[in-house]
Symmetry: C2
Subunit: 302 residues, 2 copies
């Protein structure tokens, strides 16, 4: 049997694990829920169970290693989550040591957006490059920067906070203390907030705004234009800073690509001579919500 | 004798070369002018002469290698300058091949701002880190990003265009096609343009604005406040993107540090939770106009 790695992707809702071989084939998969109400120790127990079940199923002989992706800030050296709005109860939790102790082997810990970027680089839309940036458009906007095939962690693991690039210095306020953060103008949450401002009512969802845009509603189309322009400003900055060949976008909002992408490209082209004068690509990520699982597994291969 | 490398820094005005040993000591130095009116071939000849004189003076036995820093965009693989406003006549000139042919040995070519960042990392204010960003504040604003000890070139050598980070999407127009580029709000040129808007007259220099600020002129102080806030927005973005430990500023404008630095730090602190929550440093570079010379020489050591 081929060598394989186990990747585990812990989200605020779902806990998924998979055994993946070096060619990217999924050999075994475990899908469960993240039961945060039971507390961090129990969630760690569920993670150990998912990994252990996979390991027993395929045997330890060919297991290359184990990688785990989690939301929040990780002190890489210590394997501790310092802060994670999506994982209440995990603040300052020594996730890596707890997993290693109970599994009896080494575990590679990574932030979920960084793991997704690694996954796209390993087996997704970024397979052919060594340098890429991934923006995950969801409730907020996460990011991962891969330079020379490796994640740019920064000195305490807080690199890649791309959702907090300022796209408008007097824009919407953000919980981070800034104004005009990208994620306050281009996330799914930003779309529903703009819909509220456009008189669509309090309960409108991003999906409903998308359906209205498809039906030709001018206000809905305008919302995606603002989203696209905001992304264009951020991507122009990233292009001028990195001159990387590839910028990937992922998340459910991608369904509205035909509405936000044209103003995004136009804005980026106008604002970045680096983008305009090179064959820089901005594309959809290809692994969907499996990117983090693949990225976590990729960490298990030496 | 200790091993040494030769660094050459070609500017629009000055041509300087130095032999530097591995401890950073300058063993020999050549200072000349860049005679652009004579044409690119003649300038290349002057570069060869400066390097050759140094090499003959110290002997080839201990020469580790040769590095050259030039302004403009360089296609790294080919060693060609594609575009350089400061070096008219050098467009598409095969600088590296021309130097190698006439010197009979290998030459490492690098963009001048990247070379300055390498110099600060090697022997300047960045000696103790592996990751840093340098912003050179002059007529425009250049930048160099060092990640894991190496320059982030991007895929066609256009990485590090930090002067074109958007700090205000409806700000001053820039020749690059963008609006609100950092260098249109925080360079020496931006200071004199703001001074003109404040009624200081057409001919006012950045030095004169500085002297007025020292004398307590409110308008001059306000100009530095705008400059500082603009730098703060860009540095907040860079901090959120990289989480590097060190951001260095260089250039003659640093004389006005006491005027622009306080609003710069305040803006950066407010806008970047990564900066605020970590021991990130923003400091003056330490090598002055010798940074590029040191960086070029550092390329000569294997």
């Amino acid at each position: 049997m081929a060598r394989y790695a186990i990747g585990l992707d812990l989200g605020g809702t779902n806990l998924r694990a998979a055994a993946i071989d070096a060619s990217g084939q999924i050999l075994h998969k475990v899908a469960g829920r993240t039961d945060l109400s039971a507390g961090a120790d129990m969630v760690i127990g569920d993670m150990v169970d998912a990994i252990d079940a996979t390991r027993r199923h395929l045997g330890e002989t060919n297991l290359a290693g184990i990688g785990v992706g989690v939301p929040g800030f990780i002190i890489m050296e210590k394997g501790i989550i310092t802060d994670s709005p999506n994982l209440p109860g995990f603040e300052n939790y020594p996730v890596r040591d707890a997993l290693e102790e109970r599994l009896g082997c080494r575990v590679h810990l990574e932030n979920d957006a960084n793991a997704a970027a690694l996954g796209e680089k390993w087996m997704g839309a970024g397979r052919e490059v060594e340098d890429l940036v991934l923006l995950t458009l969801g409730t907020g906007i996460g990011g991962g920067v891969i330079c020379g095939g490796r994640v740019v962690h920064g000195f305490v693991g807080m690199g890649g906070e791309l959702g907090h690039i300022t796209v408008n210095p007097t824009g919407n306020p953000c919980g981070c203390g800034n104004r005009g953060c990208l994620e306050k103008h281009a996330s799914a949450t930003a779309i529903t907030a703009m819909a509220k401002l456009m008189g669509f009512g309090d309960g409108v969802t991003a999906e409903a705004v998308y359906r209205m845009a498809v039906e030709g509603n001018d206000k809905a189309v305008e919302i995606y234009r603002v989203m696209g322009e905001s992304l264009g400003i951020a991507l122009a900055n990233l292009s001028n800073i990195f001159n990387f060949p590839l910028y990937l976008l992922s998340g459910g909002v991608l369904a509205a690509w035909d509405f936000f992408a044209p103003p995004m490209f136009e804005e980026c082209r106008r604002r970045s001579f680096v983008f305009r004068n090179t064959a820089t690509r901005i594309e959809k990520a290809s692994l969907g919500n499996q990117a983090g699982l693949f990225g976590a597994a990729s960490l298990g291969f030496p």
